[in-house]
């Protein structure tokens, strides 16, 4: 029986290959959409895990999260330093750190901050080297393509922006490397926040500051806050949601974003379902054509004593095998595709996008039984072929 199926596949390999490819494409597409959407969701959520509470200037909460958590370059309204001083001293705050964004070195954003953020207030050590000790030193994220001892000149803004220019008089030396992290910050370069202030005040003689004292108007992009408790986190958030500041839990903003994306997800889900339905239809159409092609042989087998039911099972097996193979290829291609695209995005964004199958994915396997049941229809056509008809047609 297997020999017969193999002989059939071999003889009509081009048509079978086409069918196989179509099924593989349809399943591959839906697997890809499914996995990639999940990867983006999981990856971005994990990347935000390190940030408990973010405080920024009044504006868009989404922009605040995109700029600070994912380091997407975009102009962000600035806060005065005095807000940071207030938060830091607040009794509900475990620790707080300022963040100043805007400069870059090639693909790496430059983040002005304090050692508190990098060591999580002393709870985590650097992977290599030491913390920056003055405004000429920098600590780099694990994915930055520099090493300890390297020197570099930062760019104001991001490469490619119209007003980007090199800060020629500033030169940093790398003194430490952070442990690897699953977020965008692993591709960032960290310098003392004072260095950022200094850089931007250079050439502006009136603003040259006294050594490290409280210029309460020194600008910062955002404040990362680690509250002492969950209740404290909510109180702090409410407290800084008034006036000129904005306080958000990144997870909360992400949830809002996913809700928006959820519609897209539903649409994609429907498209992939339609693709699968199309694949089944193609399979049936292909099967009918395939059987038309073999009708004489099938009819003859019956004439020579083969059992019609056995032939029915044979045809059905052959078609089911084809759809199963197509599905196996499709799932593999979909997985590899999602893996590849995730890898590309990770390389750009700095946080990994996990391509994983979850328990709910068993639904994808429904394609197989549905296809198999649908294929009963064309397979039953085999019953209708009569060799007597072909004998009549061929003369005599």
């Amino acid at each position: 029986m297997l020999k017969l199926i193999l002989a059939d596949f071999k003889r009509t390999w081009a048509a079978n290959l086409l069918l196989l490819t179509l099924i593989a494409l349809a399943t591959g597409f839906s697997v890809f959409v499914h996995l990639e959407e999940r990867a983006l969701r999981l990856g971005s959520a994990r990347a935000a895990e390190a940030f408990d509470l973010l405080i920024g200037a009044m504006g868009s909460d989404t922009q605040l999260v995109l700029s600070t958590v994912y380091l997407q370059s975009a102009p962000l309204a600035l806060l005065d330093r005095k807000h940071f001083d207030d938060v830091e001293k607040h009794p509900l705050t475990e620790w707080a750190a300022p963040v100043a964004l805007g400069d870059s070195w090639f693909d790496s954003p430059l983040v002005g901050t304090t050692p508190t953020l990098l060591t999580r207030n002393g709870t985590r050590a650097l992977a290599q080297g030491r913390m920056f000790a003055n405004t000429q030193e920098a600590v780099i994220g694990a994915r930055v393509k520099l090493k300890i001892g390297d020197q570099f000149v930062p760019l104001h803004g991001q490469a490619g922006q119209f007003d980007a220019h090199v800060h020629e008089s500033v030169r940093y030396i790398v003194v430490g490397v952070l442990p690897p992290e699953d977020n965008a910050w692993s591709r960032a370069i960290f310098v003392p926040i004072e260095a950022v202030w200094e850089t931007h005040h250079l050439g502006d003689a009136e603003h040259v500051r006294d050594e490290d004292d409280g210029d309460e108007h020194a600008p910062i992009s955002a404040i990362v806050v680690k509250p002492k408790s969950i209740a404290g986190a909510y109180q702090l958030r409410d407290l800084y949601r008034q006036g000129q500041t904005l306080a958000v839990f990144p997870a909360e903003v992400l949830t809002k974003m996913y809700a928006t994306l959820g519609d897209v997800r539903t649409i994609l889900g429907k498209i992939s379902l339609a693709a699968e339905a199309l694949a089944i239809l193609i399979l049936i159409a292909g099967a009918v054509i395939h059987l038309r092609f073999h009708a004489r042989q099938i009819a003859a087998l019956r004439a020579f004593g083969a059992c019609a039911h056995t032939i029915f099972i044979l045809i059905w097996l052959e078609l089911s095998l084809l759809s199963m193979l197509g599905m196996v290829f499709g799932v593999s291609f979909g997985f590899l595709g999602a893996f590849f695209v995730s890898h590309e995005i990770s390389a750009q964004q700095g946080f990994p996008l996990p391509v994983v199958f979850e328990r709910e994915d068993w639904k994808l396997l429904l394609f197989l039984p549905v296809a198999s049941i649908a294929l009963l229809l064309p397979a039953s056509l085999g019953y209708r072929y009569s060799v007597a008809r072909y004998m009549r047609d061929s003369g005599a």
């Binding site: 029986m1 020999k3 017969l4 002989a7 059939d8 071999k10 003889r11 004489r296 042989q297 003859a300 087998l301 019956r302 004439a303 020579f304 004593g305 083969a306 059992c307 019609a308 039911h309 056995t310 032939i311 044979l314 009569s386 060799v387 007597a388 004998m391 009549r392 061929s394 003369g395 005599a396």
Partner: protein, 233 residues
């Protein structure tokens, strides 16, 4: 089993057209009968109702004690698989498979019990028919060789009746003669009834009787020999 075939008051109609109308035809066991006639005279239809590939519109078809026209299509398939060997003009070999697999295929896919030493019997038959390479693909065979494979397939279950539809029509003269010779010799050797629909006078000459049809009814029955068998019309 009594393998006398009897057709009584058999009429086959396709739509309004009557293609076969036989009041009585009896074919005795081990008889060799040629069925001749113009195209459209109902020769193939007669063969089809004898083999159960088609059923009569009215009338009776008996194989010994079995009334074939009372069976449904699946039952007739099974009955034919067990009791009749079929050789057709266009061979109907399964492409892509080897000679041996082609001989074995219908039986292997059949509902009937396979019997013992199926493959051994197939190889012996092929040998007898002069086909030396059972593993050769049928696609590379000549037409004469293909028809020999078809004959081996028909004979595999040692059927009591061999039914052939124009077995030599698509072959050249030499292959025609050889195939006709083999068909007759093998039927005789097994004591099988042989019914050949044919235009081939040389093949018809090897038969005991010749039945000529015209417009669905017998016009002439030629009784050239009578070797203790009966054929009536």
């Amino acid at each position: 089993m009594n393998r006398r075939i009897l057709v009584k008051e058999a009429v086959v109609r396709f739509g309004p057209q009557t293609v076969l109308d036989i009041s009585r035809l009896a074919i005795g066991q081990s008889v060799r009968l040629a069925v001749m006639g113009e195209s459209g005279s109902g020769k193939t239809t007669l063969l089809n109702i004898l083999s159960g590939l088609e059923n009569v519109s009215s009338g009776e078809v008996w194989w010994g004690d079995m009334r074939l026209d009372s069976l449904n299509a699946f039952q007739r398939d099974r009955f034919r698989g067990r009791n009749a060997g079929l050789v057709l003009q266009d061979f109907y070999l399964y492409p892509g498979l080897c000679v041996l697999d082609n001989v074995l295929l219908p039986t292997r896919l059949g509902a009937a019990a396979e019997g013992e030493n199926l493959e051994e019997r197939a190889r012996a038959l092929l040998d007898q028919l002069g086909l030396q390479r059972p593993r050769q693909s049928v696609d590379s065979l000549s037409r004469g060789e293909k028809q020999r494979v078809a004959i081996a397939r028909a004979l595999l279950n040692s059927p009591g009746v061999l039914l052939a539809d124009e077995p030599t029509a698509s072959l050249d003269a030499q292959n025609s003669a050889e195939v006709a010779e083999l068909l007759v010799a093998l039927a005789r050797e097994r004591g099988s009834t042989l019914i050949c629909v044919t235009h081939d006078k040389a093949l018809a000459a090897r038969m005991d009787f010749c039945l000529e049809l015209s417009k669905g009814t017998p016009v002439e029955a030629v009784f050239e020999t009578s070797a203790g068998t009966d054929a009536e019309c």
